[in-house]
């Protein structure tokens, strides 16, 4: 299965129905920190150039807020596409973060849900 097919099968989303309106990117609260906008990511999946997405930080920066999902006029769940991209990376490579790198003083104050949810998104 090529990568674009994999993104589609893990996310269950039909990227071809995206008409590149840009609403997802305009709504994304963390777009400012992303190399590629969500709209560009969808386009690259459409044309099968997923490797280019993997050179970007976009899917790691996504905070799973579902704002794009709630607003997309084509009802595409972009949040799931970001998850599929993370999953492909995590299943292929190493974890994105290491517990040992988190400062000890911070570990003491973090709510458990912050740690567990982060590991859900950054470790395989």
């Amino acid at each position: 299965m090529d990568l674009a097919e994999k993104v589609k099968s893990i996310s269950g989303e039909d990227v071809l129905s995206c008409y590149q309106c840009g609403l997802c990117s305009g709504s994304c609260p963390v777009r400012y920190a992303m190399d590629l906008s969500p709209t560009q990511v969808i386009r690259l999946v459409q044309i099968g150039e997923v490797e280019k997405i993997f050179e970007s930080n976009t899917f790691w920066i996504c905070s799973t807020c579902f704002t794009c999902q709630a607003r997309c006029p084509r009802k595409i769940n972009i949040t799931k596409i970001m998850e599929a991209l993370r999953q492909i990376r995590l299943r292929r490579d190493q974890d994105k973060i290491a517990l040992s790198k988190i400062p000890k003083e911070e570990l003491k104050i973090f709510p458990p849900i912050a740690l567990v949810s982060n590991f859900r998104k950054t470790t395989s």
């Binding site: 099968s9 893990i10 996310s11 269950g12 609260p29 963390v30 400012y32 920190a33 920066i61 905070s63 799973t64 807020c65 579902f66 704002t67 999902q69 709630a70 769940n77 949040t79 799931k80 998850e83 599929a84 999953q87 973060i97 988190i102 104050i109 973090f110 709510p111 458990p112 849900i113 912050a114 740690l115 567990v116 949810s117 982060n118 859900r120 998104k121 950054t122």
Partner: protein, 308 residues
């Protein structure tokens, strides 16, 4: 008294104890007994959004099985609802309950539980379906009702300028959310019933930065600034939340947010249940403000308003 199965989750037992302490007391005052699941485990916090990931649904489903067991043992009668305070727990439990509406997926998950009985710690039955996860906000709106809340108010929060903040997981995605994802009103309605003055917060449905608080504090600091500066400019004295992770980010990351923008004034962040306990004039221990869980101490404000 209505008795409802209650799933606490780890947050309200640790950093968000003030949420559960106030919430359980408020529920009782309103005629709802929250009966803690005799056995429960971490919900997993974020559901996997991958269609092929069954493993990450085991934890929430196991909690739903515990609700079934509560019915079997007679702790509750014919009760298919389970209540949470934490938005993340609510979101995860509800997502899992919807995910396994697909019978093939449920079949696989139940086969796993059956085969790994020993390993998954005493799960004696499969999940039969039909358990509904409720956020406590829904209990207040749909089971108790705003009128009854208003009737319990002994000390109206007159003149207290509060800005509601919802975050993401209690309102999005649409299939899971409990209110309009773009224009929710449930917190406003509750705060209104308490007599508080509602301050417009244009960013009340914007993300708090969530789990990036672990590895990208800079992102959370920026969002914290954005999420607080508008309500502050509009005159808010306190921000009211419903999620322990939003609360942590809005409260504790004010420090980092102020390093980015020095004009950010300190503002306390409280759970709506704490303000309810205050307005109901419950015993002070149920306000949860003395537990040293707040980064910005809300007590000076409460004292100035004659509420503490």
């Amino acid at each position: 008294m209505i008795r409802l199965p209650y799933y606490p989750g780890c947050a309200v037992q640790t950093t968000a104890r003030n949420y559960a302490i106030s919430g359980i007391a408020v529920a009782e005052k309103l005629g709802v007994e929250l009966v803690e699941l005799p056995k429960w485990n971490c919900c997993g916090v974020f559901p996997s959004l991958a269609t092929d990931d069954l493993m990450r649904h085991l934890a929430p489903i196991r909690n739903l099985i515990h609700v079934q067991e509560m019915n079997d043992s007679g702790v509750v009668q014919n009760e298919n609802r389970v209540v949470t305070f934490c938005s993340m727990c609510f979101h995860t439990l509800k997502e899992a309950s919807l995910f396994v509406k697909d019978e093939e997926k449920l079949g696989k998950i139940n086969t796993f539980f059956e085969r790994e009985k020993e390993f998954v710690g005493g799960v004696k039955q499969g999940y039969k379906g039909g358990i509904k996860a409720l956020d406590f906000l829904e209990v207040l709106r749909d089971i108790i009702g705003y009128e009854k809340i208003a009737k319990e108010v002994k000390k109206p929060l007159k003149g207290l300028k509060v800005a509601p903040y919802y975050g993401c997981l209690v309102i999005r995605p649409r299939e899971i959310g409990i209110d309009d994802p773009e224009n929710p009103t449930i917190l406003e309605n509750i705060l209104e019933a308490l007599g508080a003055e509602i301050i417009n917060n244009p960013n009340r449905t914007q993300c708090c930065g969530s789990y990036h608080t672990i590895d990208r504090k800079d992102i959370v600091a920026k969002l914290t600034y954005d999420n607080l500066i508008y309500p502050i400019r509009n005159g808010a004295e306190v921000v009211v939340t419903c999620c322990p992770l939003c609360t942590f980010n809005l409260d504790f990351r004010q420090k980092e947010a102020r390093e980015l923008h020095r004009d950010l004034k300190e503002i306390p962040v409280m759970y709506y249940t704490q303000l309810m306990a205050i307005a109901f004039e419950l015993d002070k221990q149920f306000y949860g403000v003395d537990l040293e869980l707040h980064h910005v101490d809300p007590r000076p404000l409460l004292k100035a308003k004659n509420l503490y």
